[in-house]
Amino acid sequence: MTIGDLLLLRFLQGRLRTACYAMGGMTFGLGCAVAAISNAASYLSDDPKACINCHIMNPEYASWQHSSHGRVTVCNDCHVPHGNLAAKLFYKAKDGSRHSLLYTLRRENQVIQAIPGSKKVIQQNCLRCHRNAVAGAVAPVHQSFERSCTDCHREVPHGRVHSLSSAPNAAVPPLSPVTPNWMKKLSSGEVDK
């Protein structure tokens, strides 16, 4: 039996095979719907809007936008590694799964803090742009992670004070609606006109 046979359920016959196709199709369709309402595709991009699909990142979005980094960087510039594409995507998948799990189980902390693995990535990314600025530094900052840039530059870029409720009315871009426009038009009767 080849892999193709397995995938196409050739080992089943008759009505059972049809029924399995039907159920597989339903599962796939529902899976697509879940992907759509969770904006799953947006996580492949570097758009900061993807990071506020879940509203708990709103304060981080707002403080980034109001900071000196707001015009020159996006979230991913600092928060995912940029060595190579595979490393970037792997890190995104790993970090993203952790986030979505915590979020779905409502286990997010009131004050979000970078975990050690994330701190390491952030530090590397500080150096990615600011290497020249620290090249002459007495302490070999880029060799040891005992001290990181943000230990001193604590305001960069999200400010010292932050929690889930620190930017209550932050004007962040709203989520785009799940229902497509043509469907809305249908239900509001605009199509008749």
Binding site: S68, S166, A170, A171, P173
Partner: protein, 468 residues
Amino acid sequence: MNEKRPFFGWLIFVVCALGMFALGLLAASISERRNESVQARLQFMEPIADFEADNAKWGRSFPREYNSWELTKTDNGNTRHGGSGFRDYLAEDPRIVILFAGFAFGKDYNQARGHYWAVHDVTTTKRVNDKTAATCWTCKSPDVPRLMKRTGLANFYKGKFMPLKDEVKNPIGCADCHNNKTMALQISRPALKEAFQRMGKDIGKVSHQEMRSLVCAQCHVTYYFKDKKTNYLVFPWDDGLGAEDIEKYFERLDFSEWVHPISGVRMLKTRHPDYEIYTKGIHAYRGVSCADCHMPYKSEGGIKYTDHQVQSPLLNVANSCQVCHRWSEKEIVSRVESMQDKHKEILSRATEAIARAHLEIGDAAKHGATDQELQRARQTLRRAQFYWDYVASNNGMGFHAPQETARVLDKALNLAMECRLEANRIRARHGVLEPLEMPDISTKEKALAFAKPYIDAAKAKEKPTPKP
């Protein structure tokens, strides 16, 4: 096959049922939390009605933003060249009385105070009288969109200012920039939308960051009234936002606001093109918006929010400039002031040249120069004062775009000097070889007294006494 192993079919059934159930739960959970991001973001104490103009009502749901907005009534003291305290431009530089002689700005011209004072100040200025158009309310109050809707836009503009005095009570506030349901920034004044349309741009498709400047550009821009009958508000942006673009626009229309009573020049007037000039500066180039400097983020305890006390960044350096410029406050202020000092120096020279040009053309006419002889000098002076005004009426004393404003001022100064050469050549042709002695206009009162006979004479000429 399933006859032989019936459990196999049931197994598939159960696995699929569980899978679908789990997926369904996940979908429901995602939807629920999506909903949170819509609802949790804004917490209204009570819904805010459409066209709600009372800022205090918005303040019940958004107390921090409201309280900081309310602070626009406080006078934090002026900065060296600006601020939002009281400042009488005509008293500070009485030569401006000559430049605006015969026009409302020559009577009363003060620095704009905080948003809180908008309605108070527009109803107490001497520029406003019974003939004033309702259009002048446009930028003063969130009551205006309601009135525009009630009578229709064109009819609103056509009306008079005074009859609406009892209906316009709330100074510039929440509804001018915010949507009452989503709090998103929105354009509430049609003139900006229309200007974008004429430029072939869709204002509905700009980024949030651009909106943080464009809501200001509803009012902090130059404008004119289409004609005396309709008083329709128009932004002269069809050719672009630069000084040359706007001049080209007005020349095409052969537009003029008033005839100068001393020099007889058909004048143009620019009004605070703050947004236009900002777009020519380094901060705009770097994507910094008006709100980034004039309404910076503010921390209060554990909460961060946008400071709605719109004011000069020089009064709030730590929250605005220092976010990007990591120097000491003193260094930042002295850097800005040194730019502004230099700007003011050029501005002052241009003001002097234009004031003298008006008087010299007037003197040439007094000694018998004809309109035809003076035509070129007048046209040059019209342009000179237009360029001068494009910069002078701007807030920020040149800081919003230092090189651009210096360039435009240089153009104004050069044109004014060309005009003076021409005017003096004509004076000489009519036998006056001595330079014109400047009258004593060292104070606002003296300047007003000097201009008055010219203004009266021009008025008398305009309205010939009816024959018996």
